[in-house]
């Protein structure tokens, strides 16, 4: 426990009173935690590089040498800009050979309602991350929301659809799993038994209707939504006959799909 209080203590000490101020005055701020290996000179260079690239932003830098963690606090920045700022940091550190792991990006109050607690959680999350990946990840604080841990399985052979939809839904706090054909979809379904399946009808290995049938036969309380390229009324009719709850065609609106999903999941609660 004593050790746990020590983790990232330099970053916590430096930022604590600022975060307290943001929390009290309800002002926005962005936080980036990076695993990096820096000396004083390199840290100064990074600071001046960022001042040159993004001069309008008020940024505080704090480096905890014992943990190899760099903390950056951005004044009055939302999650969108903080993420954009982290792209510069990643590029620079990579070029200098100082980047030793991933970057975690969060913001108050978008990522968490408690600024100080958010910083603690971000540092802890960074400690658990493998050091061989140089990726930028968004911090997801476990807010007690309805979406948290609601599992969704996306089945579509179109990688772009899987990419856009899973990124959007993960951002909303859903637990998203993906599969590219009916067979893989069925395997995933049996493993996770999700609350909602969003599937295309045109699937390889195991056809869409067969996949839907098998999900239905499992007698799990899973809702099924079809997201398809098929625009004909006949397809829609046939799909509903298979026990599907929602039918949407591509191209699709992310807002519409989320609204329909929420409605379905509310009914399944």
């Amino acid at each position: 426990m004593a050790q746990s209080q020590h983790v990232g203590s330099r970053i916590v000490k430096t930022f604590n009173h600022f975060l307290h101020y943001y929390q009290e005055s309800k002002l926005a701020c962005g936080v980036i935690i990076v695993r990096a290996d820096l000396n004083e000179k390199e840290l100064e260079n990074l600071q001046s590089y960022m001042e040159q690239e993004e001069p309008k932003v008020g940024a505080q830098f704090s480096y905890d040498q014992s943990e190899g963690l760099l903390g950056i606090l951005l004044d009055d920045c939302n999650i969108g800009y903080t993420h954009f700022y982290s792209l510069f940091i990643k590029d620079y550190l990579e070029q200098q050979g100082c980047l030793k792991g991933s970057l975690l990006v969060g913001s108050f109050p978008e990522s968490s309602d408690h600024a100080e607690q958010m910083l603690f959680s971000m540092i802890w999350e960074m400690m658990d991350k493998p050091q061989d990946q140089h990726t930028i990840e968004l911090f997801q604080y476990d807010r007690p929301s309805k979406q948290c841990n609601r599992s969704i399985l996306l089945v579509d052979s179109d990688e772009s659809v899987l990419e856009i939809l899973s990124s959007f839904l993960r951002g909303k706090g859903y637990d998203v799993h993906t599969a590219q054909d009916g067979k893989e979809g069925l395997n995933q379904f049996e493993k996770i038994v999700p609350e909602l399946v969003i599937t295309e009808i045109n699937l390889s290995a195991l056809g869409g209707y067969q996949f839907i049938n098998q999900v239905r036969d499992s007698e799990a309380a899973t809702q099924i939504m079809v997201l398809t390229n098929k625009h004909l009324e006949e397809d829609m009719k046939r799909t509903f006959e298979f026990g599907v709850s929602e039918y949407m065609t591509k191209p699709f609106s992310l807002i519409e799909i989320e609204t329909r999903m929420k409605k379905l999941l509310e009914h399944s609660m």
Binding site: E53, G80, F88, F168
Partner: protein, 388 residues
């Protein structure tokens, strides 16, 4: 003999030379493709974090920012492919946000330069991207290209780009009129192309209804059926009686699906000379469950055309208990005639199909009701019961 051998050597040398050249060309193409593939992968890797940023911030209010690193021409090609893949799959505000990003990345100007290239492939590729990015700036260039590509599928690619990029409905109408000029019966494809436009094309379609070009009339009838609140034009009613079968069928479909029909229209159409019209209307009555036309369907079972008669019987069965009783009446009242056989066959088929659908309580009660009525009319049929 010596002369012929010499000739044979020359032919062999010639063939070897051609094979050599072809091998070099193929190797060159392979090498170029491999190099492009490698460059694409490198570029994607370079911009991966940026693309992750775009995805994760797509739902935020702020405008998406452009990358901090330099974006060269090759990178632009790679980025635009990824962004257009996403744009094509989305609609609404998120798609608009990505389109704005394409503008901010300078992809419009990049493609406006490419559309003037000497290479036809580059010009077509640029036209495709400019359409996908909804760039109205590209419209004059696209029309110029369209009029150069008088024939072939390229004209349809350019037409689609015009439909996507146009911010004036008159431009879409001009493109459609141009592509339909040859009357090659492509109106389904043209309606699909026009469907890419987000503009309200009702006025333009209504103008096209009066065109002398039959292709445009068919296109207008099809296009109006995809528009909400099409506001029935008197021309559409006139086309229900058109000599051209496709115009007639499209007008009937539009009149019915738009909901602008009167009871009189339906009754008249069930007596049209064209059996396809009669079958279409009978099918629609069943699918839509419009019970008020059950008596017309009962009469339709006696139609001289077997397809129409069968469609009427099947549609009656879709009207629930009322339809089922009417079909049983037909069977009983026409005993010994072919129409009674047809009606009974349809009833028995329906009972067999219903017996399989016992998944939910509604199906079970509906099936029981039908079986009860069947036995009331025809008594217990052991053969049928066994088959069920």
């Amino acid at each position: 003999m010596f002369f012929n051998l010499q000739m044979a050597y020359w032919v062999v040398y010639g063939l070897l030379a051609i094979m050599g050249i072809l091998t070099i060309v193929i190797m060159g193409i392979k090498f170029r493709n491999a190099r492009n593939q490698k460059k694409t992968e490198e570029s994607l890797q370079n911009f991966q974090s940026y693309l992750d940023y775009v995805q994760s911030q797509l739902d935020e209010e702020d405008r998406l920012r452009t990358p901090n690193q330099k974006v060269g021409d090759f990178d632009k090609k790679v980025l635009q492919k990824v962004l257009i893949d996403w744009i094509q799959r989305l609609s609404g505000v998120h798609r608009d946000k990505l389109i704005t990003l394409c503008h901010d990345l300078g992809l419009i100007d990049f493609n406006l330069k490419r559309i003037k290239s000497f290479s036809e492939f580059k010009r077509l590729d640029a036209a495709y991207y400019l359409g996908s990015m909804r760039s109205s700036k590209a419209i004059p260039h696209l029309f110029k290209m369209l009029k150069k590509n008088k024939e072939g599928s390229e004209a349809f690619i350019i037409g689609r780009s015009i439909a996507q990029a146009a911010d004036e409905p008159k431009d879409v109408k001009e493109m459609l009129t141009y592509l339909a000029k040859e009357e090659r019966n492509n109106y389904h494809l043209l309606a699909d192309i026009a469907g890419e436009s987000t503009l309200d094309l009702r006025v333009q379609y209504k103008q096209l209804l009066t065109s002398e070009n039959k292709e445009l009339v068919k296109l207008a009838l099809l296009g109006l059926s995809n528009q909400t609140d099409s506001g029935m034009d008197s021309n559409v009613r006139n086309y229900v009686y058109a000599k051209d079968k496709e115009i007639r069928m499209n007008a009937v479909q539009l009149l019915i699906t738009s909901g602008a029909w009167t009871s009189n229209d339906i009754k008249k159409m069930l007596h049209f000379n064209d059996s396809d019209v009669r079958a279409f209307v009978a099918q629609w009555i069943g699918d839509s469950g419009v019970v008020q036309f059950a008596d017309q369907l009962r009469e339709g079972v006696k139609d001289s055309d077997k397809i129409v008669a069968r469609t009427c019987a099947k549609s009656l069965l879709k009207l629930g208990e009322t339809g089922f009783i009417k079909l049983c009446d037909v069977t009983v009242q026409n005993e010994g005639q072919p129409v009674a056989d047809l009606a009974l066959e349809c009833i028995q088929e329906d009972l067999k199909e219903s017996s399989v659908q016992t998944g939910n309580i509604e199906h079970v009660t509906s099936y029981n009701q039908k079986l009860y009525l069947y036995q009331k009319y025809f008594g217990k049929d052991e053969g049928l019961t066994q088959a069920i």
